[in-house]
Symmetry: C2
């Protein structure tokens, strides 16, 4: 790589934080992380991992534990989690954003985001901070824990796609329609392996919070992250947040290159809508207008800004929501509510018939306001995967606040441009205040000393200790699975299981239940009798969601190794991170020679793993003993982790030294 070539914003961000590797697409790089974002649904496990690693104080410049997902408190579990997170934040030196302060992404942007910084977050919408000129990546809990411990973040250098924005959005069309246009063009996998960087003169008319809408929902493209420059709009936003001192300019160099190129002419956009059941299922609103609806929800991290609520309020002001519509408002943060009171958006919405909910993620993660059966729900949220709302076979459409508010009035999906003829309405013009109301005292600062005890309710258990890798085993094959087993089959999600995310002994009872309900009992017995077990699988083992519990729970139940034809990438890394050996068949035909209940034997295992990528193991059906050849494709770094029994043991050891 040349040292003087003109850089785009992404390259500047990476280069200034590069600790290992080179910026060559596909090659692994390690970057320094300045900030970390945690939310409650994943954060409890991250905090337990910090505890298990023996971390004293986090090393990032800024780390914030938010509480925004599990706010309903239908029993003690969520409230107990909040207490745990409050004490854990104090213990390890994170900021704590109290329940009710708001959704992590907009609050972080408003109060903590700084152009030029890097961030990891244990939430897939972490890229929203790219709106301020940050490099912000959503990732698994252990990666966040590692960053908090001062470790680099490792990722394969993505391709950089430059999206040039030209012109200006027409009236009744807003930022949501820009990202919906990207989803219309690229669908939900079009961003995989890419960082999307927006540039061009069209940016002049997009506020920092408009950019948040676009960066946030870039996650739906599958992109690694989204990046915007830091310019006068960024400065204006930071000034409104009384933080102009945090502003720096960060722009692409003239003549810089992008790996891929795209252009959007803003003037040509129309109100768009994503039909059920994918954010990529985008059509013009006019194509589905007239359909009756039962619910409209405005809010979430995908339309979190004061403007978004204000414009909805301005549209419904002095009118009444259609009688058959539940008009649910999901205000993003306590700060936003204060400013909504000031600019009358709150009163306008309430008076027209809104139901206001506490600030948090709410229906966006199925935590309340599930729609009625066989009815259409219109939402400004980022996702409409099947059943995500909490209602089976739901019909969720995603759209802008303009489209949502217009439809709430009419009771039917309505192109907001029709409001001109229906109500004689001119497009309301939002005037941002130069300085918004701010009050930070409810964000609890990191404690000065770390003498705070972790407060754990009965459902919160410390992570179990795990031993270093064994040198030999003789254990039964508890399952023989086919190809493409997903993490949902290994450890399912849903309302029954999720509350146990901070209780590994309890959640382990659900391991593999989708495949075999007797697994838990058999695993405990094998652990007692033989010291553990192995499972056998076909190709692409553990595809799907990146949930760490799909490795952690089997590990807790004594899983020593998986023997598969091949692995999904993230799950393979998760197995290593939690100290389970991901073995592959040297000869895939040997898969046929193994049945459930056979015994597998390995000796000199540590030496084998360390010295060679191929070795023999013993296989017995109870009568005959044969040997088969197995292999692994671990890097030296991963071998070291595995020998120590996983990444927690590794960091614990490093930190003790």
């Amino acid at each position: 790589m040349q040292s003087n070539f003109p850089r785009n914003v992404t390259q500047k961000l990476i280069e200034s934080h590069l600790l290992q590797g080179e910026m060559i697409p596909g090659k692994e790089i390690g970057i320094h992380i300045d900030q970390a974002l945690l939310q409650d649904a994943t954060g409890t496990l991250v905090q337990l991992e910090l505890e298990a690693m023996g971390i004293d104080q986090v090393k990032t410049e800024v780390a914030v534990q938010y509480v925004d997902h599990n706010l309903l408190q239908t029993d003690y579990k969520n409230a107990d989690d909040h207490e745990f997170l409050r004490t854990a934040a104090a213990r390890f030196g994170l900021w704590f954003s109290r329940p009710g302060n708001g959704v992590s992404h907009p609050v972080h942007m408003e109060r903590f985001g700084i152009p030029g910084k890097t961030m990891v977050g244990s939430d897939s919408h972490t890229p929203a901070a790219g709106s301020l000129g940050m490099l912000a990546i959503g990732t698994g809990g252990l990666d966040v824990a590692a960053a908090l411990a001062g470790k680099p973040y490792f990722v394969k250098m993505p391709l950089i796609m430059g999206v040039e924005l030209k012109g200006k959005l027409p009236e009744w069309v807003s930022a949501k329609d820009v990202i919906l246009e990207m989803l219309r063009r690229y669908d939900v996998k079009g961003g995989v392996g890419k960082i999307i960087e927006y540039y061009g003169e069209g940016l002049r008319h997009l506020s920092a919070m408009d950019r948040h809408v676009i960066a946030n929902m870039g996650a739906e493209l599958g992109a690694t992250t989204t990046v915007f420059p830091s310019d006068e709009e960024t400065r204006k936003f930071l000034r409104s947040q009384h933080r102009e001192h945090d502003w720096i300019e960060l722009k692409a160099d003239p003549g810089c290159n992008y790996d891929l190129q795209e252009v959007i002419v803003l003037d040509d956009l129309v109100p768009l809508i994503a039909k059920p059941t994918s954010p990529g299922n985008v059509v013009p609103v006019s194509e589905v207008s007239g359909k009756s609806i039962s619910q409209v929800v405005i809010g979430s991290s995908a339309n979190p800004g004061l403007r978004d609520f204000w414009i909805a309020g301005a549209i419904v002001a002095d009118k009444n929501i259609a009688p058959e519509v539940s008009f649910d408002i999901n205000p993003t943060s306590r700060q936003i509510i204060q400013n909504m009171i000031k600019n009358r958006a709150f009163a306008n919405l309430i008076k027209a018939g809104a139901r206001f909910h506490q600030s948090g993620c709410m229906g966006c993660i199925g935590m309340g306001q599930a729609p009625a059966s066989n009815t259409i729900s219109l939402r400004t949220m980022p996702r409409n995967f099947p059943d995500r709302s909490g209602t089976k076979d739901d019909q969720v459409y995603l759209c802008s606040p303009e489209t949502a508010a217009a439809s709430a009035l009419t009771g039917k999906i309505t192109d907001p441009r029709k409001l001109e003829s229906l109500y004689g309405m001119a497009y309301p013009q939002f005037k941002a205040a130069a300085r918004d109301l701010i009050k930070d005292e409810l964000l609890i600062k990191p404690a000065e000393d770390a003498k705070v005890a972790l407060k754990k309710g009965p459902n919160i258990k410390s992570l179990p200790d795990f031993d270093a890798m064994t040198n030999k085993f003789n254990v039964p094959v508890l399952l023989k699975m086919g190809d493409n087993i997903s993490t949902d089959e290994i450890l399912k999600a849903g309302a029954e299981v999720l509350p146990y995310r901070s209780n590994i002994p309890a959640i382990s009872k659900y391991a593999y239940t989708v495949i075999d309900e007797t697994f838990y009992d058999r695993a405990l017995q094998a652990k007692e009798q033989f010291g553990g077990h192995v499972v056998v699988a076909g190709d692409n083992y553990a595809q799907g969601s990146s949930r760490e519990h799909a490795a952690l729970a089997p590990k807790y139940l004594g899983q020593i190794a998986v023997l598969a034809k091949s692995y999904a990438r993230i799950a393979w890394q998760n197995l290593v991170n939690f100290g389970i050996i991901p073995l592959e068949f040297t000869n895939p035909d040997d898969y046929e020679r193994i049945e459930k209940g056979y015994m597998i034997t390995a000796v000199n295992l540590r030496e084998h793993i360390h010295n060679s990528s191929t070795f023999d193991i013993g296989l017995s059906d109870g009568k005959d003993l044969i040997t088969i050849s197995v292999k692994h494709s671990l890097s030296d770094r991963q071998i070291a982790i595995l020998l120590k029994g996983g990444i927690i043991n590794t960091y614990k050891e490093e930190l003790t030294i």
Copy 2:
């Protein structure tokens, strides 16, 4: 009874509505009902009962279907109920208060309550309307359905307790402390069989909404209802609601008598608090001050007024809630929120750290905001029975908004009078607006015609049809139970079961599961094989909660009769209402001669029930057949209902004629 004696307010209300009987304590009276209040948790069944009765249009002057209990919508069921209730209200001619409009009792008082009127409501806090000089009684769903169908409401004439209020409340002491004082003196059974009527010069300083607090929580005394006069304060309230035209004066005649007498000197009261786990467990706040708390909740129908939120806002204005406290605000109605925005209460609370929730019952019925394990929650709500909050072994204290707000600031239970020394705070003085903001368009008027189809989601089933009473049976004894079996054992409540309240086939699966998990299967088998079953019990069968499902579900499963030593009063009526014969042993010793699995035979049953209060039935253990004598204590009216197969069949027949 003399015609010219001086009447108290209660007597005037009853006399003006008396259709049957005399106002002699203990004698049954039948009174005309002007208004009806329904909430969603019980209202779905009432609406299904109207459907089953074949009602066309309700006959009361005003009937309102509120939606305030089940607002969280974690799946489709609650949202489906809301849709059903909206269409049912239109179908049968009730007002419909949309989800988010607010808690039934304060909204009804604000927008519908009229001095001098009578009301029944399918909610135990219906007596709150007594604050306006109404006679308002909470009762079972079928009684409400009957009133809606134009039938009288039957009740035994209660004793009338006159409570004279003298003087004026000190600063930092408010209406909640008055009713807590009553609970301190009389505990939770002290009001049973009584109507409590407040009078005296102390009333001058209690606003209509203050009286609501007292009348509402009179339910905790076990009182039939609470009554206040309609005076200048009532007029002022109705004027603030733009409804002065609905005001009439309604005062006790000079020299009137009360069956019982009590006096409260308001000047002597101090801030009071009910300790766990009973509203009757009242002590001065000072006795428990200093205890650490994790949660404060302000709102509910027991402190619903604008003043209650305003004073909390004034106390916390420009301060911060203690970091370890979740400060949950449960605004009563959309109208209250509008006025809270106007008088700055909303902004003061949000800014200090409040979490705002949609208008509804919320944590008062365990629908959200359950507290963390082993922590204290302070609430302005009416009840703190064990686990009602949703958290097992909870520690809920009940107090005034003043005490709650003071404690939220300090993080410990705090006597609000301490705020003077802690913060140099003077007692904030609330100035009621002459006219509050009002907007009624979101209360949906009864439909002009009744052509609306009922919209039933998959969990909403019409009531099953029931046959007229059989003339003979030969059926097995499916259960032999002991004394004091509660309705909780017959059909349990809780989060698992409640969502099925409008689905009799589904909820029937839980019948008697607490006693015998095989009951459901055995009952279906007995219905198939023998056409039904009986159960046998000891004394006081079906005590506790008045839930109708404890009769309806067994009926659905084929229960023909119960044979018990004795019955709890409400449950006995419920059995008759749903067509189950409540038989008693003529000789209680015969209880010992029956075992589970024995067969019971009756012939000429209709004739026996009609003509005689004692008759013989056959009893067989499979070998020998003996006869035992049974009896009943049914009135002629009840016999007629029973012969027709229950009250729904009775009304259906009357309405068809």
